[in-house]
């Protein structure tokens, strides 16, 4: 039986392995969300075990400021009625960048697999990804990046290649050291020329 790990338990696991994720908090009211935002734009997301495609289902509200926050919050609450149990999470809006996916899965034959690909809404359109069996070595991580057709986009012409290799190695140790992770989606991870941040975490545990 697989179950969805709580977002913040997942975030703590990422922290432990040095994987950066966006500043986030559960919010239980519109006021809560406004307070979290302070003056910067935020994202509101509804998280439910019943919804995989959050953005497709309209469960992600981006770039919210001022009165938009309360409006978005009540919209999510009304959508949530059919998706109980659910929680609403507020996140700081990540800077612009390229959306990639970093994933993992336990294969019944070969054990843990690790994946990198073009992420966000492009995952299913281009299916541009590279996969390896864990544990991987630095060279494997390099090859994975080389295997992507979108490598020049994803690496900003090679500028963040080292950062992505490090990210893959960190996710590799996350997967290898936590046997109970059955599926992992960090999608999207927003990559920039000088860094990255995971803006969504989905971990299914066995």
């Amino acid at each position: 039986m697989m179950e969805l790990l709580d977002y913040f338990d997942g975030k703590r696991l990422l922290d432990k392995h040095g994987i950066k994720s966006v500043e986030s908090r559960y919010v239980s009211s519109a006021q809560d969300a406004v307070a979290f935002a302070a003056a910067s734009p935020i994202v509101l997301k509804l998280i439910s075990g019943k919804a995989l495609h959050k953005s497709k289902a309209g469960l992600v509200k981006l770039d919210l400021k001022g009165p938009d926050i309360s409006k978005a919050y009540s919209e999510l609450v009304s959508k949530g009625r059919l998706l109980k149990p659910y929680r609403i999470i507020a996140q700081k809006m990540a800077k612009n960048g390229v959306e990639i996916i970093i994933g993992g899965r336990t294969d019944e034959q070969f054990g843990k697999l690790i994946l990198i690909g073009l992420g966000g809404i492009y995952v299913n359109i281009f299916k541009d990804f590279a996969l390896r069996v864990c544990p991987i070595k630095q060279e494997d991580a390099q090859e994975m990046i080389d295997q992507l057709k979108s490598r020049d986009i994803v690496t900003f012409g090679g500028k963040n290649r080292k950062i992505l290799v490090k990210l893959l190695m960190d996710v590799n140790s996350l997967l290898v050291e936590n046997r109970s992770i059955s599926e992992l989606d960090l999608n999207p991870v927003v990559a920039r020329a000088d860094g990255y941040v995971a803006v969504d975490i989905r971990m299914l545990m066995q």
Partner: protein, 461 residues
């Protein structure tokens, strides 16, 4: 990992064919006939529970227990329900290995019967191949458990390529195709349901088999993932393994809980593993043969620069295009000194650049000049010689010249020849002499890319 010794199965000093029959419609008849045809020189026995006289002149007994010696290989070709009992007798008689060609086990839902077979094999520590397989073939030791008559399925020559195949149907067709290619066979192992001996055991054996230079394999699924990874890591450091994996369209489960699981299903996991451990991945049956051919006969290139020498301009351009499509290969350029020496030796109508178009009247002498130049040019790593035999200068003399140049050349040389009978004849001549010939620019160029990829893997790991 416990290593199974398959030597008695592939190099048996004695063979018993259980289910051997006088009746030409029986599988056991064809197998016995094949052993006789192949000229197996070990001690051969036929086993048939109703026999009262020798079958086809082969010493015949009613049970393997009646044979005085311990048999190296028992080939079992009787109806499924009698197989566990027959294997039990094999075990008791001290038989070292068994091949069960009979079908009617797990593949049709008879898992219990298959479990019985496995427990007998384990009880006696008797490596047992199959069930539901074609078995083994080794042209050196002249064993051939295939139940397909030689007039229908040509048998390949002796060589360095071993073919491991789960499916009997793919196995037999590819064998038939191999016999038409210029490379020879070391071992053929069709392992069917993989109840006891599976791909891990087979690769483990072939890894240390000195007669095997290249392994090609067709797999539907791998049973022992962890052990397979272990052997995969080791074998590709010693010899190339070309793999064709079936089940490409069975993508990740549609009902997956995550994007990763939706993208990365079982096929993708296999492919990832093959990539990671330096397998050469074939997309189809022609890749399997094309890659086997080049890996069997060419040394590793030192770099990725390919020279094209041709007697047809258009085919040269198409091949250059094919090189452009690959991400790894690059069209070579002559170094200045070689270019000026070629300028002096070749007629004025030949443009000194790659693709080097020697013109439609090029003969063996012109090719020799060009190929000597590319041999000594350090800016060139691999050579694709295009020979269109329809042209006036291309004849058997040229084919022979290419073969002798290949032997002297310290870099990979392959030939591209497109055409019907006259061409096919020369293709065969060149391939038999160890010079790989391809029928299309794409096939030739993809094969060069596969060779380079494996060479790089070996250089890296």
């Amino acid at each position: 990992m416990k290593k199974m010794d398959l030597t008695p199965m592939l190099k048996p000093k004695s063979v018993a064919i259980i289910g051997a029959s006088r009746d030409p419609d029986k599988v056991g008849h064809v197998i016995l006939q094949n052993y006789i045809n192949a000229g197996y020189s070990g001690r051969l026995y036929a086993v048939n529970k109703n026999a009262d006289a020798d079958i086809m002149g082969v010493k015949t007994v009613r049970s393997i227990l009646d044979i005085k010696e311990k048999i190296d290989l028992a080939v079992v070709a009787i109806p499924a329900q009698y197989v566990p009992m027959a294997l039990e007798e094999c075990g008791r008689s001290g038989a070292k290995t068994a091949v069960v060609v009979s079908g009617g086990f797990a593949e049709i839902g008879n898992t219990k019967l298959q479990e019985d077979l496995v427990s007998v094999a384990e009880k006696y520590g008797m490596p047992t191949l199959g069930p539901n397989c074609l078995g083994v073939m080794d042209p050196r030791s002249r064993i051939d458990t295939l139940f397909l008559p030689t007039y229908k399925l040509s048998r390949p020559e002796v060589g360095g390529v071993s073919f491991v195949c789960q499916s009997g149907a793919v196995g037999s067709t590819v064998l038939d195709l191999i016999s038409g290619e210029g490379f020879g066979l070391s071992k053929f192992i069709s392992y069917g349901n993989a109840a006891h001996v599976d791909e891990v055991d087979i690769l483990n054996y072939l890894m240390d088999d000195e007669e095997t230079k290249v392994v090609i394999m067709y797999v539907e699924g791998i049973k022992r993932g962890k052990e397979f990874i272990e052997i995969a890591r080791k074998i590709t450091k010693k010899k190339p393994v070309v793999v064709l994996k079936a089940g490409r369209t069975a993508a990740g489960s549609a009902a997956a809980h995550s994007h990763t699981a939706a993208l990365a299903g079982s096929y993708e996991a296999h492919e990832a593993l093959f990539r990671q451990y330096g397998f050469t991945i074939a997309d189809d049956l022609s890749d399997l043969l094309n890659y086997a051919k080049i890996l069997d006969s060419c040394d590793f290139p030192k770099g990725n620069r390919v020279a094209i020498i041709t007697n047809g301009g258009g085919t040269g351009v198409l091949s250059a295009d094919a090189i452009g499509i690959t991400e790894s290969l690059q069209l070579a350029e002559f170094s200045p000194s070689i270019a000026s020496s070629l300028r002096k030796q070749l007629p004025p109508l030949v443009n000194i650049r790659i693709p080097l178009d020697l013109a439609g009247d090029a003969d063996d002498k012109r090719y020799e000049i060009a190929l000597n130049a590319v041999t000594s040019d350090s800016n060139i790593d691999m050579v694709l010689a295009i020979v269109l035999f329809q042209t006036p200068g291309a004849d058997s003399k040229l084919a022979a010249k290419l073969v002798s140049l290949k032997e002297r050349m310290n870099k990979p040389l392959i030939v591209l020849s497109v055409g019907a009978e006259y061409t096919a004849m020369h293709t065969k001549m060149m391939e038999s002499a160890g010079l790989p010939v391809y029928e299309s620019p794409t096939a030739a160029v993809r094969s060069l890319a596969a060779l380079l990829k494996y060479a790089r893997y070996r250089g890296m790991k």
